[in-house]
Amino acid sequence: MPEQPADTLREKAIADEAAATDLPVDAGIEVPIAAVEAGTEGVVKKRLGFGAWLAIGWLGLLLLLMVFAPLLPTPGPRERVSGLAFQQPLCNASDCISGHPLGGDTIGRDMTARLVYGARNSLFIGTGAVIVGFLIGGFLGLVAGYYRGRLESFIVGFLDVLLSVPALILALSLTIFLQERVQDIVGSSEMAGRLTLTFALGIVAIPSIGRITRANTLVWAQREFVTAARAQGAKDSRIMFREVLPNVVPAMAAIALLALAVLIIAEAALSILGAGITPPAPTWGNIIVEGFDYLTNGRAPHIVFEASGAIFLTVLAINYLGDAIRERFDVREARL
C-alpha cells in the first residue's frame, strides 16, 4: 500500500505545504524532520508494485481506446441501432444483438462507443484543466517562492481567495456565466462547452498546484547549489527554471495527478448539476445523467453503472499512481 492521500485535494495541498515548510500540521503525528533529502542518500528506489502496473495498464488501455476510437468495430456514439435499446451488457439471450458487449442505451446507441467517446471528452477536459492549472499555478508558485517579499504575499493571498470558495461552486459559476459568451466567440456549442469547462476547472486546479509549488520552491531555493549558481552570476530566470523547477516538478506532478482525479469527478458532478456538456456529445457525466431515470425505474441500471464504473476505475488508478510517485520521489506529506 502506498501512503494514503488526504481525502480532498485542498487538504492535501495544505498538508503538503505545511509539511514542506515544517509547520506542525496535526497533533500527535510526527512530521519527519529530514526535509527534502530525496535522491541524496539512503533512498531505496522501490520497484513499482503489482497494483501500480494494474493502474498503468488500465490508463494505457483507456488511452489506446480513446486515440483509436474511430477504428473500433462499434457504431458511432450517436448512431442508433434498431433493437439495441435497453439491451443489457453481456447479453446471451437469442433476442440480443451480438457485438455490443456493454449493451445499449435507452435509444439504442452502443454503450461501448458512448463510453469511449465519453472518455475522450471527459479526459480531454480533465487533462486540459490540469495543464491550465499546472502552467498558471506552477508559475505563480515558483515566482512567489523564489522572489518572496511583497510579491509572495500578494500571490499567496490570491491563491487563498481562490481556495476560500468551494471548488465545485467556483467551477459551476464560471461555467454557467461564461458558456454563452464563449459560444458566441467559437460558434459551436459543443466546443464552447469543452473550452469553458476546461478553463473553469483549470482555475479550480490553480491554487492547490500553486501552493505546493511555492512550498517546495521555498525549500529548494535555499539549497547550496542555488547559491552556487547565483555566485556564478546566473540570472534569476535561469535559476528558477533550470535549478529549482526540476526539483519541484515531482511534487507538482503528484499533486497534478490528484487534481486530475478530482477534476474528472468534478466534470461528472457539474453534469449532474446541469452545467456540464449538453447531450448529444457524450461525457461520462452526461451519460450518467441521461441514464439516471432508468436506474430508478430499474429498466436499465447498466447505463449509470458502466459510466460510474469507468469514473471510479480511472480515479482509483490515478490516485494509486499519484501515491506511487509521491512515495518514489519522497514528496513530503503530513500523514493526515
Partner: protein, 368 residues
Amino acid sequence: MGEEARHRLLVWALVAIGVVGLVALVVVAPTGVTVAAVAALIAVAVVAFAGWRRLLQVVVVLVLVTFFVSVLIRLLPGDPTDAILGFSTPEQRADLRQELGLDDNIFSQYWDFLNDFLRGDTNYYQSSGQRAEGTPVWDRLGNALPVSLLLMFYAQVIALVIAIPLGILTAYRAGSRLDKSVNTGAFALIALPNFVLAYLLIYYLAVRRDFFPTQGYVPFGENASEHFRSLFLPALSLSAGLIAAYMRLLRSDMIQTLQEDFITMARSKGLTTRRILLRHALRPSSFTLLTVAAINLGALVGGVVVIEVIFQLPGVGLLLFQAINAKQYPALQTMIGIIAIVYVLANVVVDVLYSVLDPRIRHARAAG
C-alpha cells in the same frame, strides 16, 4: 484558575454558543438578527484566538468573493437581460437593467448588489419580465439551508460511528490481514465519488429492495422515522470518503498512542484490553479526529449539492440546480454568494478551533 483551565473554559463556552447559534439558525431560519449575531460571534472568536490580522484577512476575502459574485452577471454575452427575460418589452428590460445596476459602473453595481443581498431583497424573475411574486431567494434559502445542514450533520455522525470502531480495531491489530484488507477498502473508498455510491445504494436498497425511498424528503416534525429513512441513503453516500479518511487518521494516531509508556503502564496494571483501548488510547487520539471532522465540514459542501440533486432533497443544492435549469441568473448569484460566504466562515471557525484545540499551534502562535 490556571491559564490552561481558563482557556479550556473559554473554548467550551464558545463551542456552546456556536452550537446554540447553529440550532437557532436551523430552527428559527436565518433572519437579520440571527445572522448578525452569528457574524458578531465569529468576529469576536477570530479576534480572540487568531488576532485582528486574521479578521482583516477574512473581511478582505469576503469582499473579494462577493465582488466576484456581483460581476458574474456581466460575463453573460450581449445584453444580460436577454438571458434573464425571454420575451419582454424594451421598458421591462430597461427596468431590469436599472434594478441590476447594469448601467452603472462596476463599483456602484457592487454596492447595489451588496445592499440587496444583505437585505435579502433578491428575486426570481419570470420570463414575462415580472418579478416572480412571493418568492424572494432568501425565503427559499431559509427553508433549504436547514435541510443541507442536517444532511451534513448526519453524514458526519455516520462517518464517525463507522470509522471509530474500524480505526481502533485496525490500530490494535496493525499489520494483520484484517488491517490490510480494511486499508485497501479505505483506499478504494477514497476513489469512490459520492454520487457513484449514491447510485449503487439507490439501485440495490431502494429500487431492487424497498428498504428506503429513492428520493424525497420528510421533515422531522412530520414523521421522525420516515425522516431518517429519507435521509439515510444520502447521508451514507456523503460519508463514504469521510469514513476512509477518519479511519486512517485514527488508526495512525492510535498506533502511536499505543506505543506510549502510559499504555504499557496500564497493561502492566492488568487492565483489560477493552478498557485500555477505549479509555486510555482513544481519548488522546479523538481530539485530532474531531478537529479533522470539523475541517471536513467545508469539504462536504460540493458533495452535498450533488447528493441533494440526486435524491431530490429540498436543500440549497436542489435550489441551485433548479435555478441553473431555469436560467435564473440573479437568483443564482445570490445562492453562489451565500454558499461561498458560509464556506469562508466555516473555514475560519475551523481554523480558530484548530488553533484552540491543538496546543502546539497555539503556543507556536503565541511565541511567534
